[in-house]
Symmetry: C2
């Protein structure tokens, strides 16, 4: 396997392709397929077979000529690389429409995301129940006991509230943030921040519609 | 400007960077900045200044040495390239939590997305009102008059319902689909399909947390 240093240099586009391979392998496993060729992975993901081989070789996985990749083994390797072979304790901040959509999004549960807490600033929402969670005041994020700590905070608040939420989460010791608010956020260098800007996803479609 | 053929070959990662530049330029325009350097665009987006210059030169925009790029002009060019300098008539299919989140997501309204119709299959939801829209039975998508046609359909239904929704939309003449269901969909070659897989966004974060 590549060293930690080498893995740090993997570009985001490669990781996205690994995610796509992982989905295909999960589906193949459900269908009890033992092996899959790079050509078939290419067909099912839309990336070229050469790209598939290059990506997987990068992480030390090589298919056998005429046989392909062992589905279960490769799926397990990718799960480990992607960090989804374990449980992640997730805290949700903001239980509006977007927050609720994220809380009940099936894809998250499938990959080890366990929502352990939900927070909001709105007194009308605090104390209400969402699934198995009672919505807590946001001040509880900082006050939670070490055993209740969250690994990742999902930010689903309006853009103008997001920075103060993030500042509070960072002060409470959170070191990984997934931001859905359409705004650029600042975090200290030791905090991992990923942004999901839904309108940027849309722009790739509108771009392609104008060409 | 590049020809249509040349624009077709632009990789998705470049378009995502253009989206990021566009956001920075919009913010600069709000602050009445007349010009911005590639170095400042680099600082505000996290891409290198060389990458910024390469991306913008690709689309025919060149900053002036010592002055930089004209903010309003470049913002307008990017809006045009990204196809967000016009209105897009958008139909939403599925008004669960995710659908509602998308309908009220502020980022969409800012970029010319106009929701003109909302559809669902659930009799309990049909006839209810969301914002200015009355939820219609999904069969209305095919029946809508040419003047009511939608440019883009947003699919926000459960994974196992998504393919039949897409098939119906395609049969109704829709040629652009933005899919939020965590499933690979099949469309004819003349239909544009973009997938937003929220769990793939998460995997980049969990990957980075394990390195």
């Amino acid at each position: 396997m590549a060293s930690h240093r080498a893995r740090r240099r993997v570009p985001p586009t490669t990781i996205r392709r690994l995610s796509a391979y992982f989905r295909v392998l999960s589906e193949q496993e459900r269908q009890n397929a033992a092996a899959i060729s790079s050509e078939r992975l290419s067909e099912l993901t839309g990336f070229t077979a050469a790209q598939v081989r290059r990506d997987l070789a990068y992480f030390g996985s090589f298919g056998k000529r005429g046989v392909g990749y062992a589905v279960t083994t490769l799926r397990g390797q990718l799960a480990s690389i992607l960090g989804i072979d374990r449980r992640w304790r997730v805290g949700l901040v903001g239980v509006g429409n977007l927050g609720k959509a994220l809380l009940f999004y099936r894809g998250f549960a499938d990959q080890g995301f366990e929502f352990v807490a939900a927070f909001d600033i709105d007194p009308a929402k605090i104390g209400t129940t969402l699934g198995a969670l009672e919505v807590q005041p946001i001040s509880n994020l900082a006050a939670s006991a070490p055993g209740d700590r969250v690994d990742i905070v999902l930010v689903a608040v309006p853009a103008d509230a997001a920075q103060s939420v993030v500042d509070g989460a960072v002060a409470a010791g959170v070191r990984a943030i997934l931001n859905f608010a359409p705004v650029q956020l600042r975090v200290p260098p030791d905090v991992r921040l990923s942004n999901v800007d839904l309108s940027m996803e849309v722009e790739y479609l509108t771009y392609s519609l104008t060409t």
